[in-house]
Amino acid sequence: MAITTSAPSRTADVTARPGAEGRKINAGRAAAWAAMIILILITLFPFYWMLRTAFSTSRSLFSDPNSLLPVDFTLGAFKRVLGLATTAEAQAEGGSGAAVNFWLFLRNSIVYATLSTAGQVFFSALAAYAFARLRWPGRDKVFFIFLTALMIPPIFTMLPNFILIKNLGLLNTFPGLILPYFFMTPFAIFFLRQFFLGINKEIEEAAKLDGAGHWLIFFRIILPMSWAPIITLFILTFINQWNEYFWPLLVGSKDQVRVLNVALGVFQSQTPQGSPDWAGLMAAVLVAALPILILFFAFARKIVNSIGFSGVK
């Protein structure tokens, strides 16, 4: 029997458009839509608030704290974030005047997030395959041990890893930033292992009968069939890495490796009881989230039009 990965088939069509046949507008469906809309509104309102604040003047924000429109509309916050504002302009609006070398930090974030995610997803996929599809003694016990890495308290790992990177001479370098995340995270292994478990075994059996080795099976069958979860994992991991704050703060403070998230800390409060440069901070967050949004929408179609998992016609 030839090995084929399943093309979008009738079954996928049904998965893709459930209820396409016989779409009735009933109370259940209406209620479901209502619930969906409410959820979306609650999810989105804070973002509207962030947008409205980003276009306001920090200094004036609290003179009208509940206005739904920007207070003292200005593009100053975005200028501060992109490094285009002078110190005087920044301080006039309530910002701090510290400089932000935006494009450099953006580049650093992209390098850091992409490399660490790529490594993590790939190596974790390898390991997940071993835990899900290979058979060896103690497999599940070792898997559980890997899983317990999730529960290791951050205060245990931060400092020793920091010291290790320093001793390897990798402080303020990209390898130093990436290393702890490059090989695996327990989440990635767990995630992929659960998905690999659900892959139909018959294709593999067939491939083995045909004489295929494990490497071939992994690269030619498992990975392509798992495209949707792998993309999902890639996106989720990328977001996590993009939002990493404390580790890049510790290890990468020099400008050439400083990531955007850390650099935008300049908009947080500077003094013990002070407030942040709200407009600048909100603008910073929105701008920093943009690349991820772009990434997500680029890949979203792939996740939606997932190949049916049955695999066997």
């Binding site: 003179s63 701090s96 400092l159 404390f246 703060l249 407030s275």
Partner: protein
């Protein structure tokens, strides 16, 4: 199969051992490179050169210190000062982790609450011999500031850079609406029994949603629109710098048996507890917002929203209060208490050198520059803080005035000597851990004032 397992086991142990050795060599801060200084030997600054890294947290002061660095470069072309700013929330974590891993800055802005622990942990370089050798004048600062930075061993660990005091910010329009003249705010008095003219003023300035003032019948304390006096973000834990220290300090009370380096706290004394009881009563009467109500945005923001008529806060917040759009702000000195005088907490920052610095000569030179009129005058002229050298303080006062801000209510404390020192003792963080919940509960009415005696005992037990 057993052999395979053993191999796996060996692999694990081997990898662990490898990383152990990697981290064992070089972990832990300290070390005496870079030309003396750790045991008090004078650092030779005559041929200083190279890079010096300097950290601070307040981005508002960054332009001022960059200007200092530029001026320093002109005088010392061989020394390169690199200033890095980290937000307060991250500053101490970054520093501590840096100490441990050996990656801390050469010079950094130090804080009175933190430096005792650094001295105990031997992370700071004593400056005395170096200063003497270079003929540096340590008496050029505002009175009392330099001594704050002398450790229990009598050695000097920082050179003062600025100081701050506390005063009352007021909303000119809300004052005028109440028929109060600005002059009326200059000489208020309080006492723990009936609050004096101070409490009357606060009550009069409090307005509820139906327009009734705090001193009128029918005032509804559950529906307050404008508070007569604001509360700065909570109970103030064991310090109450901007919340209540100005009252306890003017009631003939001191934090500790001696300061600096006391070993016995006095939270059990009647002078303290009566004051706190009175202050809690203000909250109870609705003139001051509760601790729960102020868990959120900062005092200056709520003030900017027009909800506070008066607000006690420190000189570091001048920018925030005066920057509030649409509100005209003034500053009045603190009220006098039973002691007959007012009392403002007096705090100051200094610059310290890390004991693991690889370039102590240049670091020392930079610290000396920071502590000298050349730099402090520049900082003063930027009107962000009050520098520690009197000449520079005057420049700051003038610079503030040029911006339309009258800071005399802050500086009057220095001129009339109505200040008391920020308490400096060991165990500062643990004391905070005990006093924060205790104070929260007392000011929220959940625990009686006498529970502070219990807290005081716990605090004093830390000192053995």
């Amino acid at each position: 199969m057993a052999r395979m397992r053993k191999k796996l086991g060996a692999l694990v142990i081997g990898a662990a051992a490898l990383s152990l050795t990697l981290t064992a060599c070089g972990g832990g801060g300290g070390g005496d490179e870079g030309g003396g200084g750790a045991e008090g030997g004078a650092i030779d600054t005559s041929n200083a050169s190279g890079d010096v890294s300097y950290w601070l947290w307040d981005a508002n002061q960054l332009p001022a210190y960059q200007a200092c660095a530029d001026k320093f470069k002109q005088a010392n072309p061989n020394i390169n000062v690199k200033i890095t700013q980290y937000a307060w929330a991250n500053y101490w974590d970054k520093l501590t982790n840096g100490f441990v891993a050996g990656d801390a800055p050469d010079v950094f802005t130090d804080h009175l609450a933190k430096y005792p622990e650094f001295v105990t942990q031997e992370q700071l370089v004593p400056l005395d011999d170096t200063l003497t050798k270079d003929g540096f004048n340590v008496n050029q600062y505002q009175e009392g500031l330099a001594d704050l930075w002398k450790g229990q061993d009598g050695k000097r660990y920082g050179l003062p850079k600025d100081f701050d005091t506390v005063a009352i910010f007021y909303n000119k329009k809300l004052i005028a609406d109440a028929g109060v003249k600005e002059a009326d705010l200059q000489k208020l008095q309080w006492n723990p029994q009936d609050g004096g003219t101070y409490e009357k003023m606060i009550a009069h300035l409090t307005v509820d949603e139906s327009g009734k003032r705090g001193d009128e019948p029918g005032f509804d304390k559950s529906k307050v629109k404008v508070y007569g006096l604001g509360l700065d973000g909570g109970s103030g834990a064991g310090l109450g710098q901007t919340q209540w220290s100005m009252y306890t300090g003017s009631n003939n009370w001191q934090f500790t048996d001696k300061n600096p380096w006391g070993t016995h706290y006095n939270y059990d004394q009647p002078a303290f507890q009566d004051t706190i009881k009175w202050f809690a009563s203000l909250i109870d009467k609705g003139y001051v917002p509760s601790v729960a109500a102020t868990t959120g945005q900062g005092e200056s923001d709520i003030y900017a929203a027009g909800k506070y008529a008066l607000a006690t806060n420190g000189s570091w917040s001048i920018g925030s209060f005066f920057g509030a759009k649409g509100i005209e702000t003034g500053v009045a000195p603190l009220p006098a208490g039973p002691s007959g005088k007012r009392a403002s907490m007096y705090n100051g920052l200094a610059d310290s050198i890390w004991v693991g610095s690889k370039n102590k000569p240049a670091a020392a030179k930079w610290v000396e520059f920071l502590g000298s009129p050349d730099c402090q005058n520049i900082v003063g002229e930027k009107a962000v803080v009050f520098p520690a050298i009197p000449e520079a303080t005057d420049k700051a006062e003038a610079a503030f005035k040029a911006k339309g801000v009258d800071v005399s209510a802050f500086l009057i404390n220095v001129k009339e000597k109505t200040t008391f020192l920020f308490p400096i003792t060991d165990h500062a963080s643990e004391i905070n851990g005990i006093m924060q919940p205790a104070m929260d509960d007392v000011l929220s009415g959940k625990a009686p004032v006498t529970s502070l005696t219990d807290a005081n005992n716990q605090v004093n037990q830390l000192f053995g």
